[in-house]
C-alpha cells in the first residue's frame, strides 16, 4: 500500500473524523490519499489557525485534534499553535510534510528542521526516516498525545516516505520502555491526604485544567460536597464544577475573584487537583496560602514541588485518585469557615460601574451568558479574556476554552471554529479583542466556506487593552504603541466582505438585540461592540505580589 494511503487509514483507525490544514508540495501525497477518505478536511487559511482549530476541537471533545501542514513555511507556521497546545496540555497530533530524505540537511527548497524547532514545545516528536516505522510512529503519537499528561506530538514526513510502498499492519498496542504513565495514586499518600482533610478546619479545593483532561468533574463535585469544601479554580480549571454552584468561588489569581483569592489565603488546607501553580494563579510563590498545608494531585510528577512546597504529593490520574479519596472521607461541619467565606463573598463581589450610554465590556459578557448560558465560549487574550472569565459562569465541562499558559492572541477564533466543527448544533462564541481578532481574521473565509457559524463578539476598545492597562497603572499612562487607531475600519464590512454577517453595536440598549440576532442566524457572525475604551480589569493582583495585594480600581 502507498504509505500516504496507510497514513490516512491509520488516522481512520484512530477515530479521526476531522483534520485541519493546508496542503503544499511536500505533503501532496497525503492530501491525495485524503481525497478518497471519509475524513473531513477543513482547509484553514493559515497553518497557525489549523493547529488552534485542532486544539479547540480537542479541548471541546477530549479527542485528539489533528492538523496537517506542508514543509518549511507551512511547518513553521504551526509553531505558535503547537506551543499553545503544549502549555495547556492539549492532545493534538500535527503532521508536517518534509523534503525527501536524501535532501534533508542540504537547505533544500522549503526545508525547515521542524523536529528541531519544536523539540521544546512538543510532548514528543518524530522525523520518520524509515517507512517501515511509519505506522508504529503514528500509533505511538496518538497514544502519547492523549495519555498521561496530554500534549502535542508532531510527526515530520519526508515526501519520499509518503510515496513508499509498505505493508499495512497497524499495531494494536504500543510498547515504550521509557513511557509508562502512572494513573493510580499511592494508597498511603491518599490515606495521608484524607487524614489531613479530616483534620482541616478551613479546607479549599483548587481545581486546574487537569480536571478537564482527566474528566474528573463529577468527582470534584462529589469531593467538594462530601467534605464539604469550597472550590476555587485556575483559569484553565473553569468549569471543573458548575460556577453557579454555591460551593464555587470562581477562579483565582491575577484577575480572579477577590473573595476566592482571600479564601485561599485564609485556608488551612489546599487540595490542589491537576494544576501547576503558575505565577498567574499563585501571585508571589513564597507568600501563597501561608497557613495552609497543601495536597497536590497531579499526573505529572515534575509539577509537584516545582513552584510551591507540597505536604502531600499524590501522583496519579485525578479521576482515579479522587474516587479513592471520596470513599474514605466523612462529612464534617465547618460552620465558622463557611460563615467567613460567605462574608468574604458578600463583602468583595465582582463588580463594575454600569453605564447607560457607553457599552461596558463586562455587560456584553453578562448578556452573552444570559442569552446563551450553554454556549461553548472561547476567548482571545487580554482584557476580553479576563472579562469573559469573570462574567461568563461556566456550567458544563469543556465549555470554556482559552489560551492560559501561552496567552496566545489569535487563538480564540480558530479554536471556536474547531469546537464548532465538533459540535455543529451548539452555539459557539468567541469573546474577542479588536487586536487579537485581527491576528487570525482570515479564518472568516474558512467559516464561510464550510458553514461554521461561529459568533465572534469583539469587545472593541480600540486598544491593545490589557497592555494599555499596565501602561496606565505602571507606566504613568504612557500609551506606547497600544492605540489601535483606524477610524475607517469596520469589522462589520470586513465580515460582510467575507460573506459572513456583520453587526456594529454602539449603544448598551442594542446589545441584547444584536446578540439575539447573531444567535439566531445560521451563519458566522461578527459583532463589533464599541465598548468603553479605557475600562480596566479589576480585581488586579499586580505581577509578583501576594494574592492579598489586590487593586480594586476604586
Amino acid at each position: 500500500m502507498r504509505a500516504a494511503d496507510a497514513i490516512v487509514k491509520a488516522l481512520e483507525m484512530e477515530g479521526v473524523e476531522h483534520v485541519f490544514g493546508i496542503p503544499g508540495g511536500a505533503i501532496l501525497e497525503v492530501y491525495d490519499a485524503l481525497y478518497d477518505s471519509e475524513i473531513v478536511h477543513i482547509l484553514t487559511r493559515h497553518e497557525q489557525a489549523a493547529v488552534h482549530a485542532a486544539d479547540g476541537y480537542a479541548r471541546a471533545t477530549g479527542k485528539v485534534g489533528v492538523a496537517f501542514a506542508t514543509s518549511g513555511p507551512g511547518a513553521t507556521n504551526t509553531v505558535t499553535g503547537i506551543a499553545t497546545a503544549y502549555m495547556d496540555s492539549s492532545p493534538i497530533v500535527v503532521m508536517t510534510g518534509q523534503v525527501p530524505r536524501a535532501m534533508i540537511g542540504n537547505d533544500a527548497f522549503q526545508e525547515a528542521d521542524i523536529t528541531g524547532i519544536t523539540m521544546p514545545i512538543t510532548k514528543h516528536n518524530y522525523l520518520v526516516t524509515d517507512e517501515r516505522q511509519l505506522l508504529r510512529t503514528i500509533k505511538e503519537a496518538f497514544y502519547i498525545a492523549q495519555t498521561g499528561r496530554p500534549g502535542p506530538v508532531l510527526i515530520d514526513l519526508p515526501r519520499d516516505v509518503t510515496m513508499a510502498d509498505i505493508e499495512f499492519e497497524y499495531p494494536e498496542k504500543v510498547d515504550l520502555i521509557g513511557y509508562k504513565p502512572k494513573t493510580k495514586g499511592h494508597p498511603k499518600q491518599i490515606k495521608k491526604a484524607v487524614d489531613l482533610i479530616m483534620q482541616a478546619e478551613r479546607p479549599i479545593i483548587l481545581a486546574g485544567g487537569g480536571v478537564r483532561l482527566s474528566n474528573a468533574h463529577e468527582e470534584v463535585l462529589k469531593l467538594a460536597e462530601t467534605i464539604p469544601a469550597f472550590v476555587v479554580t485556575t483559569l484553565m480549571g473553569k468549569g471543573a464544577i458548575p460556577e453557579t454552584h454555591p460551593l464555587c468561588l470562581g477562579f483565582i489569581g491575577m484577575h480572579g475573584t477577590k473573595y476566592g483569592n482571600y479564601a485561599v489565603m485564609e485556608a488551612d488546607l489546599i487540595i490542589a487537583i491537576g494544576c501547576r501553580f503558575s505565577d498567574r494563579t499563585v501571585g508571589k510563590f513564597s507568600e501563597f496560602a501561608p497557613n495552609a498545608k497543601i495536597i497536590h494531585i497531579d499526573i505529572d510528577p515534575a509539577e509537584i514541588g516545582k513552584n510551591v512546597r507540597v505536604d502531600v504529593p499524590i501522583v496519579g490520574d485525578a479521576k482515579s485518585v479522587l474516587r479513592e479519596m471520596i470513599k474514605m472521607i466523612k462529612h464534617k461541619q465547618r460552620k465558622e469557615w463557611f460563615d467567613r467565606v460567605e462574608e468574604l463573598r458578600r463583602k468583595y463581589p465582582l463588580k463594575y460601574k454600569r453605564d447607560e450610554n457607553v457599552i461596558k465590556p463586562q455587560f456584553v459578557v453578562e448578556k452573552v451568558f444570559e442569552l446563551a448560558p450553554d454556549a461553548i465560549v472561547t476567548t482571545e487574550v487580554g482584557q476580553n479574556q479576563m472579562w469573559a472569565a469573570q462574567y461568563f459562569k461556566v456550567k458544563h465541562p469543556r465549555q470554556f476554552i482559552t489560551s492560559g499558559g501561552l496567552g496566545t492572541m489569535g487563538f480564540g477564533f480558530p479554536a471556536a471554529m474547531g469546537a464548532q466543527v465538533a459540535f455543529p448544533d451548539r452555539i459557539v462564541v468567541d469573546i474577542a479583542g479588536d487586536g487579537s481578532f485581527l491576528m487570525n481574521i482570515q479564518e472568516l473565509a474558512t467559516c464561510v466556506d464550510y458553514d461554521i457559524p461561529v459568533k465572534v463578539c469583539i469587545l472593541n476598545n480600540a486598544y491593545l487593552g490589557m497592555v494599555r492597562q499596565w501602561q496606565q497603572l505602571f507606566y504613568r499612562r504612557r500609551y506606547s504603541a497600544t492605540r489601535l487607531r483606524y477610524p475607517e475600519l469596520s469589522f462589520e464590512k470586513i465580515a460582510k466582505g467575507f460573506g459572513a454577517h456583520g453587526i456594529t453595536v454602539e449603544k448598551p440598549s442594542e446589545v441584547e438585540d444584536a446578540l439575539k440576532e447573531a444567535f439566531e442566524i445560521d451563519k458566522p457572525v461578527v459583532i463589533d461592540f464599541h465598548v468603553e475604551v479605557e475600562e480596566n480589569v479589576f480585581p488586579f493582583v499586580p505581577p509578583g505580589r501576594s494574592l492579598l495585594e489586590v487593586l480594586d480600581g476604586e
Binding site: T115, G116, M119, P120, K123, H124, L127, T129, I144, L176, I177, G178, Y179, D300, P301, A302, G305, K306
Partner: protein
C-alpha cells in the same frame, strides 16, 4: 546550597536523544558541568552520565524533567556511594632533560605514557576527578600542550542497578 551532582540517565539509543537531553538542560536553565555518553550492556540502550550543579530542588527537577522525555528509560542519582571514573589524555611538553621526572610522576599516579615524540609525551590517566585534577596540576609546570578529558562516568556500588 549549590553542589555538584552526578546523575546517570539510561536512554533509548536513537538519533536525536542527545539533542533532547541537552536541549532540556538549556531550556530549563540547568547547567551541565560534564556529560559522557556511551553504550551499555544492551545495544539499544545508551547511558549518559551527567554532572550538574545545583541544590536539592534543582536536582529533583532535573531528574523529573528528564524522566518525562519519552526516550529516557531511567534516571538515577549517583551523587553518593558510587564508583566514578574519568579518563584524560594529556600531551605534555617533555624535553630530554625533563623526561625522567615526568615518567616518575606518571608512575606514582599509575598513568601511562602512550605516545612519545621528540619533545612531548601523550599520557593517559584514569581515576576519579580529584586524582586527575592533581595530576594535571603537576603536569602544568612542564607545559600542557593539549588535553582531552572524557567527562565522568559513574556506577552505583553494590548490586543495585
Amino acid at each position: 546550597m549549590s553542589e555538584r551532582r552526578t546523575i546517570a540517565v539510561l536512554v533509548e539509543n536513537k538519533p536525536g536523544v542527545l539533542a533532547r537531553v541537552s536541549s532540556l538542560f538549556r531550556r530549563r536553565g540547568f547547567n551541565i558541568e560534564s556529560l559522557a555518553v556511551g553504550t551499555t550492556e544492551r545495544e539499544d540502550i545508551s547511558r549518559m552520565t551527567i554532572v550538574v550543579k545545583g541544590d536539592d530542588r534543582t536536582l529533583e527537577q532535573v531528574m523529573k524533567q528528564l524522566n518525562k522525555l519519552i526516550e529516557v528509560i531511567k534516571v538515577s542519582d549517583l551523587s553518593e556511594n558510587s564508583v566514578e571514573r574519568e579518563l584524560a589524555l594529556i600531551k605534555v611538553h617533555a624535553p630530554p632533560a625533563k623526561r625522567s621526572e615526568i615518567i616518575e610522576i606518571a608512575n606514582i599516579f599509575r598513568a601511562r605514557i602512550v605516545d612519545v615524540a621528540r619533545d612531548s609525551f601523550i599520557i593517559e590517566i584514569t581515576g576519579d576527578e580529584d586524582k586527575i585534577n592533581a595530576f594535571v596540576d603537576l603536569m602544568r609546570q612542564f607545559g600542557i600542550k593539549e588535553m582531552a578529558r572524557t567527562g565522568k562516568i559513574s556506577m552505583a556500588r553494590g548490586s543495585k542497578t
